[in-house]
C-alpha cells in the first residue's frame, strides 16, 4: 500500500499571547492511495486546519508534510500554487464553482489554468461517473445543490490529482444529494483509484469511508477501518466522554 500524503509532528498555532491557540498539536498521519479517508471530530478539533495544511493552503508552524513524495512544508507560494494546480483537487462545502463559467468550463478550470490539454477520454469517464453529461453547458445557478457538488467533484478529479481534499462536501445538501455525492467519491476511489480525504461531521457520510480518523483538541483520538455508521457514532460518543 503506497502512501500519497503524510504528516509528521504537525503543529499549528494561531495568534499569540493570551489569544494563542494550538489548533494542531503534534499530528502524525499517513494517507493511503486508493483510500477514502474521513476526518471527524467536534467543532474546533482542528480537522479543517489539518486539511488546509495537508493541501498547502495553510502553512504549519512545525512538522513536515509530504505530498506525492514532495516536502511541501518549505515550499514557496509559487510552487504551492503549482502543486495545487497539478497534484491536489478540492471540493469545498459551498461556493465551489465560478458562477460565470459553465459546468464544463468549471470542470476543466484547473487544466485551463495550467494550460494543460484536456484528456478527453478521462474527461468523459469522469463526467459519466458523476452523471452530468446533459448538464455540461449549464451555469452553476441553473444546477441543483447536489449537481453543483458533483461538478465540483468532477473538477477535483479531472487533472488526475494525487490527493483530493473534500471539506464538508455534503454539509449543505439534502440526504438524497448527499448520497449521490458520497457514492461518487467512494466510486472514484474504488474504480478510478484516487486518494480522497474528506472532512465531515456527519456519521452517515463517514460510513462511506474506508478509514475514519478522529481528532480532538488538535490531537489524533481514534482510527477506524471500514466502519459502519454505528461504529462512528460509538466512537464519537467515546470522544464526548
Amino acid at each position: 500500500m503506497t502512501v500519497r500524503a503524510s504528516a509528521r509532528g504537525l503543529v499549528k498555532v494561531y495568534g499569540r499571547g493570551d489569544t494563542r491557540v494550538r489548533a494542531l498539536d503534534g499530528v502524525d498521519l499517513d494517507l493511503d492511495a486508493a483510500h477514502l479517508t474521513a476526518v471527524m471530530g467536534p467543532s474546533g478539533s482542528g480537522k479543517s486546519t489539518l486539511m488546509h495544511c495537508l493541501a498547502g493552503l495553510d502553512t504549519a508552524t512545525e512538522g513536515t508534510i509530504v505530498v506525492d513524495g514532495q516536502d511541501i512544508s518549505r515550499m514557496s507560494q509559487r510552487r504551492l500554487t503549482a502543486l495545487r494546480r497539478t497534484r491536489v483537487g478540492f471540493v469545498f462545502q459551498s461556493y465551489n464553482l465560478v458562477p460565470t463559467l459553465t459546468a464544463e468550463e468549471n470542470i476543466t478550470l484547473p487544466l485551463d489554468i495550467a494550460r494543460a490539454p484536456v484528456d478527453r477520454d478521462w474527461f468523459d469517464e469522469v463526467v459519466d461517473a458523476v452523471g452530468l453529461r446533459d448538464r455540461l453547458h449549464h451555469r452553476p445557478a441553473e444546477l441543483s445543490g447536489g449537481q453543483q457538488q458533483r461538478v465540483a467533484c468532477a473538477r477535483a478529479l479531472v487533472s488526475r490529482p494525487s490527493v483530493v481534499f473534500a471539506d464538508e462536501p455534503t454539509g449543505n445538501l439534502d440526504s438524497t444529494s448527499s448520497a449521490e455525492v458520497l457514492a461518487f467519491l467512494r466510486r472514484s476511489v474504488d474504480e478510478l483509484g484516487r486518494c480522497v480525504v474528506m472532512v465531515t461531521h456527519d456519521p452517515r457520510a463517514a460510513s462511506y469511508a474506508h478509514r475514519v480518523v478522529f481528532l480532538a483538541d488538535g490531537r489524533l483520538a481514534g482510527d477506524l477501518r471500514d466502519p459502519t455508521q454505528q461504529d462512528v457514532l460509538d466512537a464519537l460518543g467515546g470522544l464526548a466522554l
Binding site: S48, H52, A55, L57, D58, Q77, R78, T81, A82, R84, R85, T86, G89, F90, F92, Y95, N96, L97, V98, P99, T100, L101, E105, L109, P110, D112, I113, A114, R115, R155
Partner: protein, 874 residues
Amino acid sequence: MTRVALRGVRAHLVRFVLSVLAVTLGVAFVTGAFAFRSMLSSTFDDIIATTLGADAYVRGADELADAPAQGGTGGGGTATGFGTPRTPVPVALADDVARTDGVARAEPDVSGSVVLVGADGTAVITSGPPSTAFAVQDGDPGVRLTSGTWPSGPHRIALEDSAARTSGLATGARTQVVLGDEPRDVVVSGTFAIEASPAGAILVGVDERTALDTFAPDGLVPSVSVYADPGTSQQQLVAALAPTLPDDAQVVTGDEARDEASEGVEQILGFVETFLLVFAAISLFVGAFIITNTFAMSVRERMRELALLRALGASPQQVFRSILAQAVVVGVLGSALGIVSGAGLVVLIQRVLAARGMELAGSVPLGAVPLAVAVAGGVGVSLAAASVPARRAATVPPVQAMRDDVRPERSVATPAVVGAAVTLLGAALLVLAAALGSSTDETPTGLGLLDDLDPRWVLAAGAAGVLVGALVLSPALARPVLAVLAWPVLPLRPLGRLARGNVTRMPRRTANTAGALMIGMALVSVTGVIAASADASVRSIVDQEMAADYLVDSATFTVPAGAADAVAAVPGVGETDPVRLATLELRSRSDGSGGAGASPAGVSAAGVRPGFFGRALDPVTVEGDPAAALADGQAVVRRLAARDHGWAVGDTVSLRGGTRDLVVGAVIDSQVVTSDVVVPQDVLDALVPERQQSLRVVYVTAADGTRPEALRDGLVAAVQPYLVLSVLDPEEVASSFADQVTRVLNILYALLALSVVIALLGIVNTLALSIIERTREIGLLRAVGLGRLQLAGTIAIEAVLISVYGTALGTAVGIGIGAALPGVLADQGLTTLAVPWGQVLAVLGGAVVIGLVASVWPGIRAARLPVLDAVTTD
C-alpha cells in the same frame, strides 16, 4: 441609526476613499474656476486703476456700438481700450480743457501697437496680452522711473520693468522697434515701473511728440485724461468741463470710466468662468457615477446587516437616512478637500503663468458665495448619487437577513426600452437640427411649429437625448457588446472567459462604471469631429478660395504701409491687393422712432482694389457677380451679414453721416473674408478717414511668366525689416486658419482630460470593490491553482474590457452628435464633416492603456488576498 451609518463609513473608510476623491476633484475644479476668475478680476481692476488713473476723461460723444471683431482685433491696445470704442476727439481739445478752472493738467491719450525687438534680435511676441506704446514724461501719475531717464526724441524709448526683463534689454541698449508703420533704430533711455502688474503686456514709453506723430497723425485721439487741482472733486471737475466742450465730445468722471472698463472686463471674465464651470459640472457628474457604484456595492454587501436592522424594527426611512448620512460625510469631506486643492490649483496656475511672464494679482480670493456653491455642489452630487442605492437599501425585506443568497441585479429590460426610446428621440432631434440649420429654405420641414425652432437648441436637446439615452441603454448593451469585445481575449484560457464573465454578470454595474468614461469620451470625440471638420472645411475652402499666390500677414494684425510698397516693388510681382479694414456705422434702424439708448449698429468693412475678386480671392458666390459689383463701385456682402441685416442684391444700405449710400452688388460666402462688406478702396476712403482704416493683409500675385515659387525669396527679403510680417502660400494660409481652431480645441481636450481621469478612478473603484465582493470566488480560483499573475491578468482584462466598452460607446455617441454639427454650424464655417478615424483608433488604444493603469492597484490587492482567508470567509 446615525451611529450605525457613521460606524459604517469609519469601518470601510478605504471603500469610500475614491468617492471622496471624485468629489474632491469636481469641487476643486469649481473652486478653481471661481478663484481663477476673481484673481483675473482683481488683476484687471489693478490695471484699470493704473491705466485709467485720471479724475475725468473727455472723449467722443458717440459709441461705435456693435463694432464686430475683425479677424482677431487686439493690436489697437489703447489705454482706454477696455470699454466700447468711441468717436475720437481732437488733440487740441486738451489745451482748452487745461485752461478750465480746477484742472491741474490735461493730456491727450495717445497709444498704439508697437513691435519691440529683443536682445536676441527677434520680435518679442506675447501669447495674448498686447504690446503697447504710449506717451510718458516726467510727472505722469502712475509711472515711476526705475533707471536711466525718460525718453526724448524719436529714437529713444523707455521700457516697463517686466518688458525689459522679457526682452533682455537694459538701459543704454540699442535695438529696433516698429512704431506705427516703420521700423526704427532706438536706444533704451531708461526703465520704469507702473503701479499694477502689467499681466504680460509689453509696455513701451516714448515722448509725447513721437506718440502724437505716430498714433495721432490727423490730430485725433480717443480721449483726454484730466487731472483735478487739489480740492476739486471728480464731480466738480465734470460740472466745470461739461459746458465748455463741443457737441461731439463728452466728459465723465474717472470713476465712471473705470466702472465702464471693468464692466466690459467682467463680462468677458464671466464667459471664462461659465466655460470653466461647465467642465467642472461635467467632472462632478462623472464623479456621481463613482459614488452611485460605491454605495450600490456597499448596500449590496450589507444587505444582511440592513435586513437585520429592519428586523430589529428600523423603518425604511431610517435605513434610507442612514445611507444618506454616509453620503453627506463623503460629500462634506470631499468638498473640504476640494476647496483646499482648488485654491492650491490656482496658486499653481499663478506660479506657472508668472514663470511665463504673466504676473497676476497676488492673493487667491474666495468669497462666501463661491465656497457655498462648491460645497453645495459636492454634497448635492454625493446625495443625489447615493439616493438610488439608498432607496434600494430601504426596501430590503427583513426576511433577507435569514437568507444566504444575494439578490440578483434587476433585469435590464426596462432600461433597454426607455434608453432606446430616448436615444432615438435624441437622434431624431439631431437630424432635425441638421435639417433646420443647413436649409436655406424658410420652411425646411413644412411644419410651422418645427421651422421656428432654433437649430442650436434642437441640437443641444438632441445631443443631451442621445447621451442620456445611451447612458440608460448601456446596461442592456453591455452583455452583447462585451461578448463581442471579449472575442480577442477568449483564447487566453481561462483568463479571457473569467474576465468576460465578471464584466457581464452585473451589466448595470459595468455600465455605470463605463458610463463615466463614456461621457468624457463622447465629449472628446465630439471635439475631435469638430477639430477634424473645421480643419477639413477651412482647408478645402481656403484652397478653393485663394487665387493669389501669396498672402502677407502680420503678427500684430496691421501691415505697415511701407511694407506694402516694398512688396509691390519686388521684381516679378504682378499685382498686390492690400486689404484695409474699417468700421462703418449704419443708419440706426431706430432713427426717427426716437428710442433712447438705441446706438448705431456698426458693420465691418474691407476696402480693396477693383479686380480683387477673381485675382486675389475667388469666393463662393451666393448671388450677383462680385467682380462686376466692385467695378461698379457697389458693395459685396458676406452671406451672414446679409442674413443678419436682411440685405439682398440691389438693396441700398444707408450709412451714418450720409455722405454716401452703398448698393449691395453681390452676396458671397467666404472663409477668408471676415468683414461684413467689401467695397472698392475709393468708396471706403470716402466713408472713413484713412487713419481709422488699418491695413490688414496684402495679397500678392505673380506677374505673367514668373513662377510663384521664384517670388518667395524676394518677398521674404522685402518684409524682413518689418519683423512681424510673414509670407504665406495658400497651403500655409489654410494651416494658419486651422491652427487657430486647433489651439482652442487643445484647451478643450485638456479640460476634458480631468473627466477621463475621474472615470479612470471609477474603474479602479469598481474593480477594487468587486474584488472585495468576490473574495470567495478568488479564493476558490487560487485554491484550484490560479497563479497571482494570472489573477492580476484577469483583472487587467476586465478593466480593459470596461474601459474599451465605455470608450467605444462614448465615441459612437460623440461621432453621432458630431455628424449633426456641420448641418447646424455651416454658417460658422463648418461645412465639411470629417471623422478623425486615426484619432478614434488612438483613443481606443488609449482606452486599453487606461484599463491597464486602472487595474494595477486592484490587481495587486487581489493577488495579495491570502488564499485561506478567501476560502473560509463567511
